[in-house]
Amino acid sequence: MTKILMKGNEAIGAAAIAAGCRYFFGYPITPQSELPEYMSRHLPGAGGVFVQSESEVSAINMCYGASGAGARVMTGSSSPGIALKQEGISYLAGAELPCVIVNIVRGGPGLGGIQPAQSDYNQATRGGGDGDYKLLVYAPSTVQEMVDLVGEAFDKADLYRNPVMIVGDGMLGQMMEPVEIGRTPAASPIEKPWATTGVATHPGRRNIINSLFLKPEELEAHVKHLFDKYEAMRANEVRVEELGVEGADLVLVAYGTTARIAKSAIAHLADEGIKVGLIRPITLFPFPMGSFATLPERVKDLLVVEMSMGQMIDDVRIANEGRRRIHFVGRTGGMIPTPALIVDAVKSILDGQPGDAPLNAVGPQKGDRR
């Protein structure tokens, strides 16, 4: 198949339909509105259904219903809209329902802004809803990777019977890049004997979709079962890109579009003879803990770069187990870090500047224009 030029948000829609998704429920919000727009135009023709719901809460509960009936279903939103969906996401996890949820992140908290951000890391990886649960969380950094991961997200959601989240940001949603849809063919849909498809399809057995367990011992057993799945994800689903880690003087840790900016910074530094590597988590949960254990001895410093106040630092600390100094540089609120910001931070660290305390370089930079 040939490559076509597509906006990130639209490419998600095309990839979802190619992966067999036939139901999309959502409510528009900048900067992800092109996704529901695309679905409204293309799902009916593919034999599917698009509903613009009256709210984000109803959209996520429509997903609960469609998924319970065995369908491949998606919803999408941006930060404050994803916050509204949290109750439904917790219910999906509790009832073991597959669903793919897209968050094209914008600045927060509250209504925040509409420019790109990564300040929903904690919301995505720590659970924004109630109870003991996890989502499998993918954080692509190019439109092509996002397209490939959409197909994978549906397969994994079905496999684990768990919601899967794809975290992008306003930049990735709005930008256009050449993409090939359906490059990685989706696995054939697996049987869903648990789905509520009518007693006629499963004679003699009532299928019940539920997240209510009034007996504590039953709920505890249920939660332990959920956590067996999360352990399996930790064992089997870690995705990471490691770049130039061997021989590096310092290693950057960044995900999503920020990792692309980090790559530009790495190229600038290489021109000056400074070797810097990159650990790019592709799954935010499970976090690529192993990549930090196998870093070469000579690497003494890690620099976390994010479009937030540093929400991923906690996971880096856990993965690092005190081996190396951890620093941070970033921008927030819709401001985008420049390669120069990262270059300067790397140099000041290698010049023996701040020790273990995070290097707080969040703030206006010379030459800000957007």
Binding site: G170, M175, E177, P178, R260, I261, K263, T338, R369
Partner: protein
């Protein structure tokens, strides 16, 4: 290997986003790597509009252009600020129909194209962006002129294929304007 980093800027309605998309499509058709990144916000006709287009032989790392543009295409006066983003030796293409100012840097090349007049003369004022694309292709070796025209033809589709004539005329007028200025300057 050449790596072009282009900022296109003007106001909503001038076809800035389309201009950038045509460049990206032309690059894709030529088998290059490319990215198109729009500014976005509470958009409106007449409001500011700009986008960053990168054309490269290697995969595009950061899609943002910030102080490292090789070219800027400036369609209105408020967008003159993007001249600052040019690297030394870069090139500025200025719509002199709407901009009286001159580029006040002597380390960059500047070309002045009366895009609105040329588009009007070509037969349709809405083709100012095609005038500028024609001028851009003459000014740089980023993508082939034919690739851009082919991308435009594909965008218009069969229903609007008749508009290709005026678009070709506008594109050629822009290219001519830059060619004349190149002939005048010894460099």
């Amino acid at each position: 290997m050449h790596n072009e980093r282009i900022i296109l800027a003007g106001f909503g309605g001038q076809g800035i986003m389309t201009m950038g998309q045509l460049l990206a499509q032309a690059a894709l058709d030529e088998g290059r790597q490319t990215s198109w990144l729009p500014s976005y916000g509470p958009e409106m006709r007449g409001g500011t509009a700009n986008c960053d287009v990168i054309v490269d032989d290697a995969p595009v790392a950061s899609p943002i252009i910030h102080g490292d543009a090789t070219s800027v295409i400036i369609m209105n006066l408020p967008s003159m600020k993007f001249v600052e983003d040019l690297i030394p030796g870069g090139a500025a293409l200025i719509n002199s129909s709407l901009i009286d100012d001159r580029v006040d840097r002597d380390d960059v090349r500047a070309f002045y194209v009366p895009a609105n007049e040329l588009a009007d003369r070509a037969g349709n004022l809405k083709t100012t962006n095609m005038v500028m694309l024609g001028a851009f292709c003459e000014m740089t070796s980023c993508v082939d002129a034919e690739s851009v025209l082919h991308a435009m033809q594909a965008k218009l589709g069969e229903k609007k294929a008749h508009l290709m004539t005026v678009n070709r005329a506008a594109f050629a007028a822009g290219a001519d304007a830059v060619r004349e200025q190149l002939a005048l300057s010894p460099s």
